[in-house]
């Protein structure tokens, strides 16, 4: 075993959430060590890997897993890392690398809507959060200023202070969708961590239309930007450090974490405070792996809730041809959506949803379709242009309620390092399925308003997954039913905190990253209050410091 490492704060996982908590703590003068299981990546190499990939529709292709820190891969075939216990598949995708999964994301940086945190009280479903939207607001603001979020005020999420940036310029395709769907559906600009002007030393978007799998120009905020910010603040990152055990002392305090280097040499890292930030699958896996005689069910698991309440956002969709040329693929990938169905009295009966339009170039899908259909000869080029100009897609983003039977457990199967693989137990209940049915009427109306032909609904009962892993280490006031408190501190271990979208007690209808970051900043403040903090006033100072 090598010489021990030590720090005031030890963070497990170098994704956007953990890294932004780390940078905040490092700024306060704490020594911070970030352990990341995966390797360090270079943006230019990711871009090259995408261009050279034979699977351009698979955004994981440019991110091959390392042997010592595997992550799920499904194309060209399932690498068998995330085991599926059923009954419904949960093919989550995530990236184990410095920077984490937001290397490829649509940068949708949504706030909740206020009622999302009170659905038990208001609608009799799910659970209430242990904090209010108003308490979250200043942390959202701080997160938005760190990420550089561009957005409009008409999305249903109130705010006390302006967005850091105006909405990103609307692509022609989305303008036409907005104009033709009004007034039946208000189509609004998505709230995104994408620059509509130069911000924090990064350029404005230039429309590469590859937000997923990689923004080549650094106009979209990624986890690697968060890591670099943490390093600039003094944090140290150790890549290729596969944490496999969290060690507690006789009092139940966390004393150290243990990691393997790729050569399987063992290392021990001690610290004062520990932050688990390895995402909603790997973090509960690690808590379960760290079982001891004192904690036979794993750490932080007195409630038995670690790994349970797994949630994400399933989607069904409609693809069709509009009656005019839209040419999706000009500008960023995810510009616009309909937000009016994110809340309402119907939530007592079925899930709420966002309706999301893609602006991803349709050329690849159309070409694949034409080859599949055997459209050859002069008709190929004609059809390619006609379809690529008119094909459009709308999907729902459906809420899933917390259910303890949906969970991450340890598989009996082990990875190359001898560490048990995670296993997903997942089902999609009637609350969510009913919403999918209801949204079909929206799909049909949208197609009608766009003069749609060639309507192709996703197959009944088939849901695409959105990789918004939530719930597996839920926060709550009751230690009997939750894993962490409202500040992300585990109920069972005073110096162990969780910073992750996995602490969200419900999934709501928006991409979870911004909420995960906001909660993590709040946790960081709780661990070590910022000088001159905070909350509702901190943004003023931040803008200055970011400039």
């Amino acid at each position: 075993m090598s010489a021990e490492l030590s720090a005031d704060i030890v963070v497990i996982g170098a994704g956007i959430v953990g890294a932004l908590a780390a940078q905040r703590l490092a700024r306060q003068g704490a020594s911070v060590l970030i352990l990341e299981a995966g390797p360090r990546l270079e943006r230019a190499r990711v871009v090259a890997a995408f261009r050279n990939s034979p699977f351009k529709g698979n955004w994981m292709a440019p991110y091959p897993p390392s042997p010592w820190a595997p992550h799920p891969i499904y194309v060209p075939q399932d690498n068998g890392y995330l085991k599926q216990a059923g009954p419904y598949p949960y093919p989550a995708e995530y990236i184990r690398a410095v920077g984490g999964t937001t290397w490829h994301w649509a940068a949708q940086a949504w706030r909740l809507v206020p009622n999302d945190v009170r659905i038990k009280s208001l609608y009799g479903v799910g659970v209430d959060w242990p904090l209010s939207y108003e308490e979250l607001d200043p942390w959202y603001q701080e997160a938005e200023e760190l990420l550089g979020v561009a957005g409009a005020d008409n999305t249903g999420s109130p705010r006390q202070h302006p967005f850091p940036m105006a909405p990103v310029a609307e692509p022609w395709s989305m303008r036409r969708v907005r104009e033709r769907l009004a007034p039946a559906y208000p189509v609004v600009a998505n709230t995104v961590a994408r620059n509509s002007r130069g911000y924090d030393g990064r350029p404005a978007c230039v429309g590469n239309n590859s937000c997923q799998p990689i923004c080549p120009v650094n106009a979209q905020y990624l986890g690697i930007n968060a890591v670099e910010a943490a390093e600039a603040a003094g944090a140290k990152v150790i890549p290729n450090a596969v944490v496999y055990r969290i060690e507690h002392d006789v009092k139940g305090h966390i004393a150290a974490v243990h990691y393997y280097a790729p050569d399987k040499s063992e290392h021990r890292v001690t610290g004062t405070t520990f932050i688990l930030a390895a995402n909603g699958v790997e973090s509960p896996k690690l808590l379960l792996l760290s079982a001891s005689d004192t904690y036979p069910n794993g750490l932080a698991n007195r409630s038995g809730m670690v790994g349970r309440h797994l949630m994400d956002h399933p989607s069904t969709s409609l693809t069709f041809y509009a009656d005019e040329e839209l040419w999706l693929g000009r500008g960023p990938q995810s510009p616009s959506s309909i937000n009016t169905l994110r809340d309402g009295a119907f939530r007592s009966q079925h899930a709420p949803y966002r309706l999301d339009f893609t602006n991803i170039s349709q050329v690849l899908n159309v070409t694949n379709d034409l080859i599949k259909e055997g459209v050859y000869g002069a008709e190929f080029e004609k059809q390619l242009r006609w379809r690529a100009a008119r094909q459009i897609n709308v999907k729902n983003v459906l809420e899933v309620l917390p259910n303890p039977d949906n969970r991450i457990t340890l598989s009996a199967e082990k990875d190359a390092m001898g560490i048990p693989k995670p296993e997903a137990h997942y089902a999609i209940d009637d609350y969510t399925r009913r919403a999918a049915e209801v949204s079909k009427a929206d799909f049909a109306r949208i197609a009608e308003l766009m003069g749609g032909t060639g309507l192709r609904y996703s197959a009944d009962g088939q849901f695409a997954n959105n990789q918004h892993i939530t719930g597996t280490m839920s926060m709550g006031n009751d230690p009997a039913t939750s894993v962490v408190d409202a500040f992300g501190r585990t109920h069972d271990h005073e110096n162990l905190f969780v910073c992750s979208t996995g602490v969200m007690p419900t999934a709501a209808t928006m991409n979870s990253t911004l909420t995960g970051v906001a909660l993590a900043l709040r946790t960081a403040e709780h661990i070590l209050p910022a000088k001159n903090s905070h909350a509702a006033t901190a943004h003023v100072g931040h803008e200055t410091s970011l400039a």
């Binding site: 230039v206 120009v217 055997g374 008709e379």
Partner: protein, 175 residues
Amino acid sequence: MVPDKLDGVSASHDHPADPSRRRLLAGLLTAYTASLIPWALAQPAPHADRGAFTALSALLVGRQALDAAQATRLYDALATASPHFPADVQALLTLINERHIDPLQLQGVLDGEHSPLAPLPRSIMSAWTLGVVGSGENARCVAYETALDAVIVADVLKPPTYAYGAYGSWTGKPS
């Protein structure tokens, strides 16, 4: 941007120049196929297999010109991936020549007859239009920016990862 360099112009890519051994594609076509790809009649090919590939490619992708350097790379990749590829190409071209099969009907005819050549058009189309040769674990990317699916829409779209233009340049109507 449509490449205008025709097959044969840069035939030195695959074989040292020996004009006496070259043949014109015209010799590989019947009046029917020649009517579909008239430009190809006068195109030289380094050898019959390559000539047949160019002719069949032109019939399938339906274009009146194909980039010669790209043809060489795709042919080499396809022939490497399958030892039967050159013979299959000759056989399919002969079939189309003899039976006057419309390219638009070709896949249906091959599928309907359970022809062993049925996978061939898709593999050639995939190579030219997606730049991908092979499938599954054996798939390789041979072209991206110059794959025909990018070339055909190049007046409107850039291939993903390439900048469309200055911030906001995407707000106007595509023209």
